[in-house]
Every structure is written in C-alpha cells, then in structure tokens.
Symmetry: C2
Subunit: 327 residues, 2 copies
C-alpha cells in the first residue's frame, strides 16, 4: 500500500508526541523518517521507526536532552550529544557546520555521545540544499572483520559526501561493507543471491549467498583491504576528534548507541557548477553494459525515487504501517 | 642491488640539476622520489624517475613555473599550479593548508593545472608530521568504467587520509581501482594471478588474470558501484572546487598532466591520541586468518618497510639504476 508524505509524517509525529517529544523535535524526527521512506531508503524510514520508539521507551535515546557545544579549536567545534535523538543532533550539527562554512569558507562539528542518525545521506542533502559541500561520517557497532582477520572489529562506518548541483545534488552515502546486514537479510528473505560476493562462507570462500555471510559474520568490506582501511580511518576521525566512543566501546556496550560523528562543510561559493555538469555528462558517455540502461551518478536514483514517490505515494509495508498506527 | 637513501637522493638531484632545476626544487623532488622508494613505493620512486625526466624534456612539466594563489573563499585558497613539478606544488599546497589549520583549526588549498604528485601518501605523512590531519585527493586520466558501463571514464583518483599518531602515523593512500595498472603489470610480469578479482575478462566475467583485465580495459573499482561513485565524487571535488581540468579533459588531452587536486587540513590539537591507540589495539584483536599473521593498520607496513630500508639499504632495479646513472 501507499501513503502520502503528509500522512506518513503526521502519523509518525503523533506517535512521538505521545511518547513525550516536544513539538519541534517530533516534527523534525518525523520529517526525517518520512523523507527517508520518500527517498526509497525504507530500511531507515518507516521500517526503522518501531525500533526507534523501542529505544525511546528503553531510555537509550534521551528525548529531552540538549546537545551542547563543549569546546572549540578554531573552526572545529566539539559537541556532546548527551544521547539526544540522533537525527535531531545531526541536523543541528550540520546546520552549525553550514553556518561556520558560510562565514569562514569551512567549518567542522564533531559530536560524541550521539545516537544513530538513520540515513547519513539526510545530512548530505541538507548541506547541499544550503549551498555547501558536506562531508560527514559516523561510527557503528562492529560488524566486519578487517583484512586478514576473522572476527568482526570494524564498523560499517558510512561516509557521506554531498556536492550541490542545480539539476540534482550529488550525494554519495556509502557504508564500508559491500552489503549492510539489512540488505543481506532482504536478499535472504526474497530467496535471492547477491549480485556480487558479499562475504565469506564457512570454508573461507567468497560467496553470493546472503545466509552464509550472515552465518559466518564475515561480511566483506568494499574493496577488501581498502574499505577495511577506510573504515578504520573513519572510526579514528569521528572518535579521536570528538573524544567520543570508538567502534570498540560501542561494540563492548552491546547496543548501537552513544556513537561518534563529524560534520564538515565547505562553502560551495567557489564551486564551478559547469565542471560538475561536464563530469556527469562524461561519466554517462560510458557505453552501457546492458542495452537501454544508463550510468547513474551518486544521488540520481534517490532523486528519481523521491519524485516518483511524491507523485504516486510512498510504498509502505502494511504490517509495519499497522504496527505504527497502533503505537 | 641496494643503495642508501643518501646515494639515491644525491644521484636523482644531480640529474635534475643537469636538466636545469633550481637547487631547492631539485633537492625537494629528489627527496620525494627517494622517500617513495625508501617507503617501498618503488613504482613512484626510482622506477618512475625516467618517465618524470622525459616529461621535463618534453616541456609537459614546467620546471621553472611558480604555483600561485589566485583567489580565496575564507579558509579555502585557490592555486594555479602553472604546470610546475607536481611534487613541488603539492608540498607547498599541503604546507599552506597546514599553516591555515594551525591558525584557524582548518584550511584547504585547491590546485588546478598541476602535475602528477607521484605517491599521494607523501602529503599525508607531511601533514601528520606537522601535527595535522591531512585529507587530499587528485584526479587522473580515465582508466576504469563506471558501474553499469563498459568504457573507462573514471579516474583512479586516489584519496589520502592521514592522522598523526606518536607510535607511527595512520596514513591511508587509496586509489579507487582494486589494482592500479602498474600493479596489474607487476603480477603479469611475474606470471601470477591477482589475490582477488581485479576486473573483467572478454566475456564480462570477473577475473583474477591481470593480462585479461589489461586487455579489456575493464579494471574494477573498489566495491563495484561504491568505489565508482567515490571516484566520481573525488573528481567533482578536486576539479569543481579548483576550477581545473576534470578526468574528461585530462583524458581528452591524452597525457596525464594539468591535473586537479585539493589539500585539506585539520589541526589535530583536538585529537585524543589514546582513542586512536585503543582503535588500533581493538582492530588487531581480530583473530588472524593465517597463523602468525597480524592485522595491520593503514601506514603500518609503510613504516616497517621504511625502517628496514633505512637499515639495510633501498632495493633498486639495477637496469633502472644504471639508466638513471647515465641520465
């Protein structure tokens, strides 16, 4: 079934109000969940909402906490999220990084003790909409082994890079595993094989079978040693800069909460938009592998899904929708 | 055979002086080539030197040109490299980004019309040695197809992230292809298969055969669509921000010259070194795949090669060494 953006946001907001959220926060968090579904990231939209409410009930997410600036090194500002809702804090932090960049060309906000930001791309779109290049990252619970290792000690640690572009922003939202556990489960439930190897089976061989990857816990970092290295570096950047918890500590605690993030902005006033356009045109000139197919730039599919869902309504999983209506 | 660092640098410097380099530039360029060999990156050390000299002879590298600041947006400074030697300009640009970061917490220098910087890691180590987090990137000639495409339109566009650490800096120097063409050739010459798939064969299947990848020109981006997307974003960042040439224009010109780069620094005064140490310890706690092996962090192998080569001498390819002695 399908619902409108307005229906979705209104319903999510009313649940949050019921659980004690203040008006402004309920509005913002509901909007972000609704936008994630609208943009096709259902796993971090409606489908994730019941989990979020559960964490609110358990007190893992401190709904009245106020993230606060606790220090500054020039244009790098350090915040403590005080375990407020992750999307709320991330939005404020990116807003602050945007303001710093508008003023001084660049700005950075590091955040410790924050919660899951849902879809990283949200804050990339936010920066690009404000005319800034946005770069942000978060850490997570460990779910990938490093190169040459068997036990998972690396986080999925998504990296987001967004560049404003008048015909549709370029937004890369890239987790460090080839497939997230959510994606593996999606394929498994559909009884499908992955399009490319997603990890290792019980014999240590690469496999496209999502069930086998889930069984061994040996998900594959993008590009083997390369994505593994990048995951580690992102953990260092978010947690050493913020003084917050690293993947090790988040994993030891057992719940993906109290994570570390950073938000970096560059004022894109300097940006030559025509160069960006030329790059897109050139990339699309690559002869397509399948007839009728076309090469896409990062963010292009999101925008077309957004437009389709705005026109036709947002597909929702009926069971989850009923569950949320009853919350 | 092996030579000392001093012998290597002295010999390279004397060649550069003979070709008209000024003293200071000859010293700096020779040092960087020698350091690259010392650190085990032979492909961008001595082995690349004859190619560099050839480009100097052809006038592609303007040995007397002076890179100049041509504009500023707050803490983002824009330079024109005027096709001076790439390592020279990159060193000055990173030095300037470090100075901006020391002053204001962060700084960024974009450079257009510059030349190949050889090993990207060089400028990461430079930033980390100066107590800064360094992030830099360059574009290159197109040598990878995008995801869903057949013809190469993406550059290898390395990304460098460096974080200072007292027991050895963390330096990730990551090109966007799973294996560079230099690496593919190395394996082919040794008659060896790649450890993991490096691209596609003539039937469009993934292959570990380096010769087949070289034949089809379909090298694999790290993580398929993910590395392809990151490569495009890096091209946008380096060329749209600098107003310089994109992968498209470099490729059209046919020579990997006049490239675009950026150098971003964050003052690491804010950095909690103990967090970095904990992350390294935790990552190394992953049970190793092979007995006696250990998981390495980015930069660790470079440092151990450096120490070995400093103690035992730097291995050089005798034919190339003789060629350079005769230059």
């Amino acid at each position: 079934m399908k619902v409108t953006f307005q229906e979705l946001q209104t319903q999510l907001k009313s649940v949050l109000l019921k659980y004690g959220f203040e008006e402004e926060r309920a509005e913002l968090c509901a909007r972000i969940f609704a936008e994630n579904s609208r943009d096709g990231v259902y796993s971090h939209g409606l489908n994730r909402f019941p989990v979020f409410v559960q964490l609110v009930k358990e007190g893992v997410i401190a709904i009245h906490a106020t993230p606060a600036s606790i220090g500054r090194h020039g244009l790098i500002e350090h915040w403590d999220g005080h375990n407020a809702p992750g999307m709320y804090t991330a939005t404020l932090a990116m807003q602050r990084a945007i303001a710093l960049a508008k003023e001084s060309g660049m700005g950075c906000v590091t955040v410790k003790n924050t919660n899951h930001w849902m879809r990283g791309g949200t804050y990339g779109w936010q920066a690009a909409d404000a005319g800034c290049i946005g770069i942000c990252a978060t850490n997570s619970i460990a779910n990938m082994p490093p190169y040459g290792g068997v036990t998972p000690v690396l986080g999925n640690n998504p990296l987001v890079i967004a560049v404003p572009h008048k015909e549709g922003h370029l937004v890369l939202d890239m987790a460090m595993s080839q497939f997230s556990y959510g994606k593996l489960q999606e394929y498994e439930l559909k009884g499908e094989m992955l399009p490319v190897a997603g990890g290792y089976d019980e014999n240590g061989d690469l496999t496209k079978d999502p069930a086998k990857v889930r069984a061994t816990g040996r998900a594959l970092p993008v590009g083997f040693w390369k994505g593994a290295g990048l995951s580690l570096m992102l953990d260092v950047l978010v947690s050493s800069l913020s003084g917050g918890r690293s993947v090790a500590e988040i994993t030891a605690a057992g719940t993906e909460a109290g994570v570390s993030q950073f938000f970096l902005c560059l004022n894109a006033g300097a940006l030559d938009e025509s160069v960006t356009g030329d790059i897109i045109t050139y990339t699309k000139s690559s002869v397509a592998l399948e007839e009728g197919a076309q090469v896409l730039y990062p963010g292009e599919r999101t925008l077309s899904t957004r437009r389709r869902n705005e026109a036709d309504g947002i597909p929702v999983n009926e069971a989850i929708w009923q569950q949320v209506l009853a919350l």
